[in-house]
Amino acid sequence: MTAKAAIRTEGERLFVHFLAAGAVPVEADILLPAETLLDLYGEDIRARAYVTQDPARGEMMLRPDFTVPVVQAHMAHGADPARYAYLGEVFRKQPRGSGRASEYLQVGYEVFDRTAPEAADAEVFALIADMLADLSLRPVTGDIGILMAAVRGLDTTEARKAALLRHVWRPLRFRGLLDRFAGRAPLPAARMALLERLRATSPALLIAEAGGFIGLRTPDEITARAEALVADAATPPLKATEAALLYDLLTLEAPAAAALTHLRGITPLLPAIAPAVDRFAARLEALAAHGIDVATLAFEASHGRTSLEYYDGFVFSFHGPEGMPPVASGGRYDALTRVLGAGASIPAVGGVIRPELALRLRGLA
């Protein structure tokens, strides 16, 4: 059997496992309209996905991921609740010289269920853990929902919270904003000069002085942001305790059960995270009920925060040896269903396995 055929056979074997767990098979197009993916991920995805031009359909992308088309299919005509399984290629540009495959099979499982999200999280994780049990992988979990709840609970302006939430998946910029809002980083010189000008003169006058009005961005929009900048400069920094808790949360790495104890400990100082911490606790209970040892399960509060993701709750990945991409990964993406659902939304969680990595670890590919 050729390597490719062996990988497909392994994928089919895993696919059958997902079906046995109650999933309905689902297919997705390989050529997807680029617009949807670009609107979700921004230009960054062009560095990862293959883009091509169709004379009639416009810009198209080779499927970089199953989640978006599966969510779209579900939101258009899915049952409620629903479980889906799929098997097919995804296509991703890889860094030069990385040796990573740019075309590979994924086999996945997605759960759309309103009743008990934490139970669904545990179901997906435990199912994949069980299917890969013979590979001695190292699982890592996280929960972006706790970080988002902490941001929403900050005692600061809505504008600052919105700026932080917008960049939750871009750790560097998130950190930069947090440093500034916490008063730990000075304002850039250009911003200081700008604020001085705005305080000395009205925005309308500055716009008039700038001459030659061009572009779609209106004087009202420019004025509104100028005023927002002045207002933000007058906003006091985050309270030292709150800021310290947020920094603590960004770097929290501990076994899940210990992480829960730690989070319970800081909840009185940041009460807004209480519901998210309760969900975390419920998930650990559900995981334990599936036989997962939460006393040793790795938890990292910042796990899954990369710019090409959409997870907003539980996240997980299963790792093999150093240098190999995760053999499996997944998470919860409730907000994505809202973005793609045109008004509707449903709690959703899922995960994918890369069959060829599983085979490689068994020494068979």
Partner: protein, 233 residues
């Protein structure tokens, strides 16, 4: 025979000829003025190949030429930074130009990339589409903005007259090569204070993928001495 890719027209061609000439490697076009071939005097085993500056990166990467002179902007855009197919032998001290990010001068609230990011978020909310940046340097601009975590923008392809796109309503901002600020000012645009994406300069590149025969290597060793550049690794 070492094939040296040389820009086929304009200032860049003349500066390249002058740079080589000043080091005793006299290049000139052969035959009629319209013909894209050349000869080298004073050195055997090498021949200039006149090419569009924009094609030289790909010809280097494909090994169709052994050496080539073109801007660092074009090589980084076409091949990416740190491309293994090419090695930088020397910066030539001409063809300097900066790839910059510029916004309308009337955007009095936007001075930095950070401001642009915040303005893009608000723009997308009020206009229903991402803030458009016109450029022909997609990779360089995207890498620059991605490294800083800028979101809610889209790159619009512009192959010429990029400075006019904002006025014409097809973009909100631009990223373009500028050797002076005059064209920008005339088009009511202003460079962001931290908007320098790439400082470009003409560079002599060597191709690692080209076939280097023993004779080519010997000729290259002689050439490297004459030019005062490092030889092949």
């Amino acid at each position: 025979m070492i094939r040296i890719g040389v820009p086929s027209k304009g200032r860049l061609m003349q500066d390249t000829f002058d740079w080589f000439g000043a080091r005793g490697v006299v290049m000139r076009r052969s035959g009629a003025d319209r013909e894209y071939s050349g000869v080298i005097e004073g050195l055997s085993g090498a021949v200039p190949v006149l090419l569009s500056a924009g094609e030289i990166p790909r010809d280097l990467a494909a090994g169709r030429i052994h050496l080539g002179v073109t801007g660092s902007d074009l090589v980084h855009e076409e091949l990416g930074p740190g491309a293994p197919e090419v090695a930088e032998l020397a910066r030539l001290g001409f063809g300097q130009a900066d790839l910059i990010l510029a916004v309308p001068n009337v955007w009095i609230d936007v001075e930095t990339v950070d401001d642009l990011d915040a303005a893009a978020a608000a723009f997308r909310t009020s206009h229903g589409h991402r803030l458009r940046i016109a450029t022909k340097y997609h990779r360089l601009v995207r890498d620059f903005l991605q490294a800083q975590g800028v979101a809610d923008y889209t790159l619009i392809d512009s192959l010429g007259a990029t400075e006019g796109t904002v006025k014409n309503g097809t973009a909100e901002a631009i990223a373009d090569i500028t050797s002076s600020g005059e064209t920008l000012r005339a088009n009511h645009l202003r460079v962001l204070t931290d908007g320098l994406i790439h400082s470009s300069e003409a560079v002599l590149w060597a191709s690692h993928t080209a076939e280097w025969s023993d004779a080519d290597r010997a000729a290259m060793a002689r050439l490297a001495v004459m030019l005062g550049v490092k030889g092949l690794a």
